[in-house]
């Protein structure tokens, strides 16, 4: 299976990071590990992409960074936590995604039907349903 194109996912890196920070403040590698874990290894975020997102989020006031010593090995790291603006932004992005998905799905699903790959599209729909459920929990 082809990997995720970075162009497509770019707009959602920030949202993924915000989702992880919604649970607890975290640091670079832990966030990247968490993204890999939650995506079942289907998406690995690159270090430069991640750092670029951190600086952008902080500049826009969606996150705050602070220096802290990790519990497990005492290493000093930069941690990030969500601000109220970040929480609000995440909510907006969730709504935006519902709309985006709703629109894109109407076309992309038809495309895969042309190749006779219907079962893959159903898989996708199942995954998205699961997403919607988790989103619902947070709200």
């Amino acid at each position: 299976m082809a990997g995720i194109s970075s162009d497509v996912i770019r707009g959602y890196n920030d949202t993924m990071i915000l989702r992880i920070l919604l649970d607890a403040p975290s640091y670079g590698y832990e966030i990247s590990k968490e993204i890999t874990r939650r995506s079942d290894g289907k998406y690995r975020i690159k270090e430069t992409t991640l750092y670029s997102a951190f600086t952008r989020l902080e500049r826009n006031g969606l996150t705050e960074s602070y220096s802290d010593v990790g519990k497990e090995n005492g290493k000093r790291r930069t941690y990030y936590r969500l601000t109220e603006a970040g929480r609000q932004y995440y909510r907006e992005k969730c709504e935006e995604w519902q709309l985006t998905k709703d629109v894109v799905e109407r076309f992309v699903v038809d495309c895969s039907a042309v190749d006779g790959g219907m079962h893959e599209a159903t898989d996708d729909r199942e995954m998205e349903d699961a997403d919607r459920r988790t989103d619902g929990e947070e709200d």
Binding site: G28, E47, Y51, R56, T78
Partner: protein, 338 residues
Amino acid sequence: METIRNYLETMFSSLPNTAEVHKAKDELYGMMEDKYNALTGEGLSSEEAVAKVIAEFGSLGELAEDLGIQEAVGAADGIRRRQVTAEEADAYLADSRKVIRQRAWGIGLIVASTACTTVSRLIYRYFVGGGMRPSGMAEQIGVMGMFVLIAIGVGMIIMANARLQKWSFLSQEPCQLDFPTLSRIDEQYQKQYGRLSMQLAVGMGLCIVSVVPPFLFNDMPLRFLGDVSIAILMLLVAVGVGCIVSAAGVKRVYRKLLDLNGSDTVGGNQFASQKELHFNEPMVETAMSVYWQTVLCLYLSWSFLTFSWGRTWVIWPLAALVHWLMRQLFERKGGTIG
């Protein structure tokens, strides 16, 4: 981890030396370190972990906008630096050493050539003419010897310069050296720094001491010693100048390599330029680079013209004071970031 550090340093080496860039480098290194530790903890070998970390690193192009380095990370209008390999750097060092030695000999010979007429006069007076005043022939032979030495000296310098021709690209186009090579060269330089400074000091010492023999023997009854002392003066100056030229030359070559990445970039800033004194104004920078040499010249010329050695030493504490003042006024603090 060493490989990862080198990789990161090389990637960042040509970026501007700003706080944002340094922070990005440190943060990225922290993430890579965590990942490396996690991967080796999962049972991957060190090589496998390094390969995976580097493969998943991404590209600095993504950071361009955040760091204000759009033009530096390989955009079409950015500075394209020619990558100098470790082999090239070593070959340049080896070539330069030969050239500097040759050039130092050439300059030494030219200085020493001034002793020719004195030497030929001495030989005539004490070995050929039996104490008679030297004839015109002795003078002519001396002058001829002088020109021969000058010709050899100039020839050596020209040949030496021709040898450096193929390295002219180092000065003419922007180049870059990778981090491991730079740190190896920096280590070499640090090791030799003491010896080179000593050589410089010895060279300057010889130039100063050279005035002693004529002093000692000037009033001696033996005219022979007085005459010989002039020749010795010239030879001491020749050796001294040779020492200065070669030590300063080797230092300059190392500094050139260490500054290759540009002292306002991350890579260039870590080495030589930080340890050297720098000034804000280009004019001041140029003037101050020859400051102590100028003071030495002033001291010697003043002393020789007036012969009041009891007073002329005052120039040194004065010079030190002026130097301190210039530093207070114009010094540029390098590498204040981080």
